[in-house]
C-alpha cells in the first residue's frame, strides 16, 4: 500500500443544494495542491463558487468533465501522492462509484440544519438553525435590505462545524411575515431581541450584513448583554452615502431584464448574479406586502437619498470585540465609512470584492469570523 488517495466530491453549498455543475477546473491534472487551494468552480442553481481542496496532494484525475451536473457527494476528482499508481487510482474510482448512490451521502452527513417558523409577538419569523448549543457558542446572522437566509448559504454551514449558528429572515423578507413595522434598524433590533428570547438565546456573536449591520449596532446599544461580539460586513449606519440606484431599482424592477443590472451592483464579479438568483428575487417581490414593506424600510432609512440613521457613536462605547469586513469595490455602501473608528476595531478590506464578501470571499470571511469568535 502506497500513499493516500483523497476523493474530491461535489460539495454542498447551503441547505437547498442537491446537485452542482462542475463549471471549470482551476488546475490541470498533475498539479500539486495544498489544502485550501482552489481546485474547481462549482455552479449551483444559486451561485458559482470556488471549491477549495480538502487536502494536499497531486490532482491525479478530473473525474467530472467541465459542464457535468452531478449530485452532492459524487466523485469529481482524485487527489493522491506521486507514488500512487494509475491502477490503484482506477480501482479507487471504480470502488467509490460502485458504492456511491446519490442522496445517501446527504443523509449520512446531514448537518443538523433545520428551518422552522418561530412566533415573535404578532410576527412569524422563519429561522434556520445549524448545530446546537453543545456544538459551541452561538452565532446570530442578520441579513440586509431585500436579503434572506440564503445570503448566508456559504457562511452558515461553514461556521456550524464548530458553532451553533442561527440565521433568520427579517420581517418583510424571505418566509417571515411581511409586516416591517416602522422599518428602522431600531425596530428590527427589537424584533431580534424578542426572537433571541423566544429561542432562549442569552448571548451570541452577532454578524450583520449591510442594513443587518445597522440592526446589529442597534442591538449592541439596546441589548449589550445579548451581544458577545460584533462582526459587521459592509454595514449601514456608519456613513451617509448609499447607492439609491440600487435601493430604488430593487424596489421598482419587476422583470428579469430590469432587475438583473440592479442586482449586479451587489458584486464585483457580475457573473455571480445567476438567472436563478434573479428569478428568486422576482418571486419574493411578488409576494403580497413585500414591495410596500421595502418602501417603508427605504423611506425610514434613506430619505432624501442619504442614510439618515448614524450609529457610529455605538462603537465609541460598546466594550466588546468588534470587527468590520468590507469589499473594496462595494458599489452600495462606501468602505471609507470604516475610517476613523476607534483603533480597537479591526477592519479588513477585501480586494476585488463588492457588497457581499460573504459570497464573493466566502472562505476568507468564514476564517475571519471563526478566528474572531474563538
Amino acid at each position: 500500500m502506497s500513499g493516500t488517495i483523497t476523493p474530491i466530491t461535489m460539495p454542498k453549498f447551503g441547505l437547498a443544494m442537491t446537485e452542482g455543475k462542475l463549471a471549470s477546473w482551476s488546475l490541470p491534472v498533475g498539479k500539486e495542491v495544498k489544502a485550501g487551494d482552489e481546485i474547481a468552480d462549482i455552479e449551483t442553481s444559486k451561485i458559482t463558487n470556488g471549491y477549495e481542496s480538502p487536502a494536499a496532494g497531486i490532482l491525479r484525475r478530473q473525474v467530472a468533465p467541465e459542464g457535468e451536473m452531478l449530485p452532492v457527494g459524487a466523485l469529481i476528482g482524485v487527489l493522491a501522492d506521486a507514488d500512487v499508481s494509475d491502477a490503484e487510482i482506477d480501482a479507487f474510482i471504480q470502488d467509490f462509484n460502485d458504492n456511491f448512490s446519490s442522496g445517501e451521502t446527504e443523509d449520512k452527513n446531514s448537518d443538523t440544519t433545520a428551518r422552522r417558523i418561530v412566533d415573535v409577538g404578532d410576527l412569524k419569523i422563519s429561522v434556520q438553525e445549524s448545530g446546537n448549543r453543545e456544538t459551541g457558542s452561538s452565532v446570530l446572522l442578520i441579513h440586509g435590505f431585500g436579503g434572506d437566509v440564503s445570503n448566508w448559504m456559504l457562511t452558515q454551514s461553514a461556521l456550524a462545524s464548530s458553532h451553533h449558528v442561527i440565521a433568520f429572515d427579517l420581517p418583510g423578507h424571505g418566509e417571515s411575515t411581511k409586516q416591517v413595522g416602522d422599518g428602522t434598524p431600531y425596530g428590527f433590533a427589537k424584533t431580534v431581541e424578542e426572537l433571541a428570547r423566544a429561542l432562549d438565546l442569552s448571548e451570541a456573536h452577532v454578524v450583520g450584513h449591510s442594513l443587518g449591520g445597522a440592526i446589529a449596532l442597534e442591538l449592541a446599544k439596546s441589548a449589550p448583554n445579548l451581544v458577545k461580539s460584533l462582526t459587521l460586513i459592509a454595514p449601514a449606519g456608519l456613513g451617509q452615502d448609499i447607492n439609491m440606484n440600487f435601493i430604488n431599482g430593487f424596489i421598482d424592477a419587476d422583470r428579469r431584464k430590469t432587475l438583473e443590472p440592479v442586482l449586479q451592483y451587489l458584486v464585483h464579479d457580475k457573473s455571480l448574479i445567476s438567472r436563478q438568483m434573479v428569478e428568486g428575487i422576482i418571486r419574493y417581490k411578488r409576494l403580497d406586502g413585500v414591495v410596500s414593506g421595502l418602501k417603508t424600510i427605504a423611506s425610514a432609512n434613506f430619505p432624501d437619498g442619504k442614510q439618515a440613521i448614524s450609529l457610529r457613536s455605538v462603537l465609541e462605547t460598546f466594550d466588546k470585540p468588534v470587527q468590520i469586513l468590507w469589499g473594496e469595490q462595494d458599489e452600495i455602501l462606501s468602505t471609507k465609512d470604516a475610517d476613523g473608528l476607534p483603533a480597537t476595531i479591526a477592519v479588513t478590506r477585501f480586494p476585488e470584492t463588492g457588497h457581499m464578501p460573504q459570497l464573493e470571499q466566502a472562505a476568507a470571511v468564514n476564517t475571519k469570523i471563526s478566528q474572531f469568535i474563538e
Binding site: 411581511k178 422583470r255 411578488r286
Partner: protein, 342 residues
C-alpha cells in the same frame, strides 16, 4: 414554501382570496361537490377533479354555490354578480361547454366596460379545464383558448405550472375585467415549490423559462413543459433554445417574443389548440410582420392536425404535439440555410 400540486396551488389561491375578500364567491357545476347524492356528506369530492375540495366547508353555501347544469344561467348570473359588486369565480368544468353560454361571455361580460363608456367593471373569473391527453374524447378535450383570445374585452390565462397557476389566479381574481382561466387537465398532479403566501404574477408579461442563442420556442400552457424537455435534449447536441411562456394569450407580450426572435432569428411555436386561427398562427403573423428581417429560417409551428381530438389513445397521442415533434421542428429550423441566389 412547500411542494404543491397544480390542483393544490389553484385551491390555495381560491381559499386565500376568499379569506381576504368576502366579495369573492364560487359557483359552478359540482364546485361544492357531493351534494345531491345519497351519502349525506357535503363536499365529498370538491368538483369533478377535486380542485375546490374543502372550500364549501370553510366558506359555506352562501359563497360556494353548486349550480344546475345550465351554463347559460349561471355564467350569466356570475357576469351580473360581477357587474353589481361581487367578484365571482365561476367554473365551467370542461371548457368545451362554453358553447352553451357563449353569449353571456362574448356579448355580455366582455362588452360591459366598453358599452357603458368605461363606467362598468366586471371582475369575473371563469375557470375551466382544457386539453387533450386525458382520453376524454372530442367533446371534453379541446384547447379553446384561441376562441376567447379572439374576443376583445376578455383576458385569457393559460398557466404552465403550479407556481404560475397560483400567482396568475390571484391576479385574475383581483383584476377588474373578465378573465378566462384555463387549466390543462393533464397537469393537476404536477408538483413544484409554491410559496404558502399569496402572490400575484402580472398579466401580459411573458416568462423565459430558459435563454439560448439558436432558436426561440414559444409554447402555451402545458406545452411549455414539453418545450423545456425538448430544449434539454437539444442542449446536449449544442442547440441552445430560448423558451417563452407567454402566460396570457390576451394580453400577449409581443415585445418579449419579438426581442427573442431578434436575438435567435429562428422561431418554433408550440400550440395544442386546433391549427387554424390558433395562437401559433397569431404569433407567426406577428413575427413575419414585425421581425421579418431578423428571421434566418421559416417559422415552424408544432400543432395538432385540423380534426376533432380522437378518443383512441394511439390516435390521441399521435394528434398531440410531443417532445419529439418539437425537437424535430427545432432541428429543422436550426439546420436551415438560406439558398444563395444563382
Amino acid at each position: 414554501m412547500s411542494r404543491k400540486s397544480f390542483r393544490q396551488a389553484i385551491n390555495e389561491a381560491l381559499r386565500q382570496e376568499m379569506r381576504r375578500d368576502p366579495r369573492v364567491i364560487l359557483m359552478g357545476e359540482d364546485v361544492a361537490g357531493g351534494r345531491g347524492g345519497t351519502s349525506g356528506v357535503k363536499d365529498a369530492w370538491g368538483g369533478v377533479l377535486g380542485v375546490t375540495k374543502g372550500l364549501l366547508t370553510e366558506f359555506g353555501e352562501d359563497r360556494v354555490l353548486d349550480t344546475p347544469i345550465t351554463e347559460a344561467s349561471y355564467i350569466g348570473a356570475a357576469a351580473g354578480a360581477a357587474a353589481t359588486g361581487l367578484r365571482p369565480v365561476a367554473e365551467l368544468m370542461f371548457v368545451d361547454f362554453v358553447g352553451c353560454c357563449l353569449d353571456q361571455i362574448m356579448n355580455q361580460a366582455a362588452k360591459f366596460r366598453y358599452m357603458f363608456g368605461g363606467k362598468a367593471r366586471t371582475p369575473l373569473v371563469i375557470r375551466a379545464m382544457y386539453g387533450a391527453g386525458f382520453n376524454a374524447a372530442a367533446q371534453h378535450s379541446q384547447a379553446l383558448y384561441p376562441l376567447f383570445t379572439h374576443i376583445p374585452g376578455l383576458k385569457v390565462v393559460v398557466p404552465s405550472s403550479p407556481y404560475e397557476a397560483k400567482g396568475l389566479l390571484i391576479e385574475a381574481i383581483r383584476d377588474d375585467d373578465p378573465v378566462i382561466f384555463l387549466e390543462n387537465k393533464v397537469m393537476y398532479d404536477d408538483e413544484e415549490d409554491v410559496p404558502d403566501e399569496p402572490y400575484t404574477i402580472p398579466f401580459g408579461e411573458a416568462n423565459l423559462t430558459r435563454e439560448g442563442d439558436d432558436v426561440t420556442i414559444v409554447a402555451f400552457g402545458r406545452m411549455v413543459n414539453l418545450a423545456n424537455q425538448a430544449a434539454d435534449r437539444l442542449e446536449k447536441d449544442g442547440i441552445s433554445c430560448t423558451v417563452i411562456d407567454p402566460r396570457t394569450t390576451s394580453p400577449l407580450d409581443t415585445g418579449t417574443i419579438l426581442d427573442c426572435v431578434a436575438d435567435t432569428g429562428r422561431l418554433v411555436i408550440v400550440d395544442e389548440s386546433s391549427p387554424r386561427c390558433n395562437l401559433a398562427t397569431d404569433v407567426a403573423a406577428l413575427v413575419a410582420e414585425e421581425a421579418f428581417d431578423a428571421l434566418k429560417a421559416p417559422i415552424r409551428r408544432v400543432v395538432p392536425p385540423h380534426t376533432p381530438v380522437p378518443f383512441a389513445t394511439v390516435l390521441e397521442n399521435l394528434y398531440m404535439p410531443s417532445v419529439e415533434k418539437i425537437e424535430a421542428a427545432v432541428r429543422s429550423v436550426a439546420a436551415y440555410r438560406v439558398k444563395e441566389e444563382a
